[in-house]
């Protein structure tokens, strides 16, 4: 019963996203454009460093660029969510009228949307990159299995983390400030602009103390084969840690927030 309910909500999110095909195409065009821009900048950086930059050669850098661009449709680095809107408008009352865990139901729907986005945005992005620029990918099938797991974990951690931004709405009502803060920090620490390996040590340490690398950087490292087997398992372990932490925080925030809920209007 438990599985059926949340599986349905997952499918609901998946199907909702599937109704916006033109938006998905637009997203792919934007991803590809910025992907090519990153190619120009980061390839130049690798060349300037003599063909190797913090362990990245041109092939590994290309894999990083196109996989991270492909994940953009599935990882929330903007901070905006339906949940925040529902809390502000009071529509969240409807969610609490259902015999479900509102936190987990929201996550299930969000993850459904994100998984769908892999089809029109994720896979084509990687295919375009491989075809146009070329990239180095691992030969070992085990790397892809662990990589797929890592991507799913990244998607879920993104949903559970951004949920916490929405949950501040139980107290703040207006969450735009928190969303902007999230947007500024998350993309940077998730490794959207440059791989976090390229950060100075102190900044790299700061990034790894947040859940953001678990959303994008770690999955990219695992599936591109940039890190070896043992290190990959360690990164997946870190993702599991952040998943547990953000879910626990989300449960607490929802429980406390519900008591604060005054349901705007009507």
């Amino acid at each position: 019963m438990f599985v059926r309910t949340y599986a349905r909500l997952f499918v609901a999110g998946f199907r909702r996203q599937s109704t916006y095909r033109l938006a998905a195409l637009g997203g792919l065009v934007a991803n590809t454009t910025f992907g090519l821009l990153k190619v120009a900048l980061l390839f130049a950086a690798v060349d300037a460093a003599g063909g190797q930059l913090s362990g990245y050669d041109v092939g590994a850098m290309s894999a990083y660029i196109w996989i991270s661009q492909g994940l953009l449709g599935s990882i929330n680095l903007f901070g905006r969510t339906d949940m925040a809107v529902r809390i502000r408008s009071g529509d969240v009352a409807v969610d609490f009228l259902r015999p479900v865990d509102v936190h987990l139901a929201t996550i299930a729907t969000e993850v459904g949307r994100s998984v769908f986005a892999l089809l029109p945005r994720g896979l084509p992005s990687v295919a375009i990159g491989a075809f146009v620029v070329g990239m180095s990918l691992p030969d070992d099938p085990a790397a892809y299995v662990l990589g797929a797991l890592s991507i799913v974990l990244g998607i879920v951690v993104s949903a559970t983390t951004v949920y916490l931004v929405a949950a501040t709405g139980f107290w703040l009502v207006e969450t735009r400030g928190v969303e902007i803060l999230y947007m500024v920090v998350s993309g940077f620490f998730a490794g959207l602009f440059v791989p976090i390996r390229l950060f100075p040590d102190w900044l790299h340490a700061a990034a790894t103390a947040t859940p953001f690398p678990s959303m994008m950087m770690y999955p990219v490292d695992v599936i591109s084969g940039r890190v070896d087997g043992a290190e990959s398992a360690g990164l997946v372990g870190l993702q599991v840690f952040w998943l547990a932490t953000t879910i626990a925080a989300g449960q607490l925030a929802t429980r406390a927030g519900r008591r604060r809920l005054e349901v705007q209007g009507g």
């Binding site: 059926r4 309910t5 259902r98 479900v100 005054e262």
Partner: protein
Amino acid sequence: MSAPIIETHELGRDFRVRDGVRRRTVVAVDRLSVRVAPGEAVGYIGANGAGKSTTIKMLAGILVPTRGSITTCGLRPVQDRRRLARQIGVVFGQRSQLWWDLPVRDSFRILAAIHSLSPVAERERTDELVERLELQELLGTPVRQLSLGQRMRAEVAAALLHSPRLVVLDEPTIGLDVLSKQRLREFLVAERRTHGTTLLLTTHDMGDVERLCDRILLVDRGSLVYDGTLAGLSRTVGAQRIMVVDLASPAGDLVDVPQTRHVGSEGSGMRQRLAFDPEATTAARVLAAVSERAEVLDLAVEEPDVEDVVRRVYASRR
């Protein structure tokens, strides 16, 4: 009397509101003690801001009371929220519980899964609701493309899919045209007859109250000021019925009909409106008196307007 389906005792809720720079406390609901038995149909009425929606949110477990106690379906709404959700269905006229970008059918399927309906129960209940609410042609339409009337029918079906014992409707007919209102009311009457469902509705539409409710709770500024039948309420405030007569030829104002008060005339007296107190006289006697004075072609008797009744109650308390 069987165990009540709703029972509140000295229920109260305050809100802190910002008033310029200072904060003050507004009492939305105060000392509300009510019992509703299973199978009743209760109209919960009062002006905007009287505390109706606040009460509904407390009995559904989405708002925590400040004072007093409340039991719904034998459960504590806030603590037992998820168990209670299986037994009540709530329709908020101004909020949607459907999935905006999916076809209506998908929303029903998701809700059936959420409520853990068995495949057989899901099919039977969906078929029943689709037939009674005439949703067949809408099932494949995305919710965002429905008209308001169509959407409200789908909303009601969504709220009732799990066959709740208690159905709470918060202004269900708001914004609907006459025909849509009529269909919705007929459905609710039938649902109550076949399943013994308890209804609690808030509304500003007196047609809803007159056709659906056998008991009225009237609130004013958070407190209960009347509990009884609509007829009883009209009687207490001396509400009058209005007889509208269409005459064969223009006539002077009928100001001398016994036990009536002339309210107005249209079309140089071809149509006249007379108010009378049903306790003091009858429609037949008024008609006879009018017929002595002019030839009557047609007539209609208007029931007391509940808005008017509410206004009178409020006025008498201030």
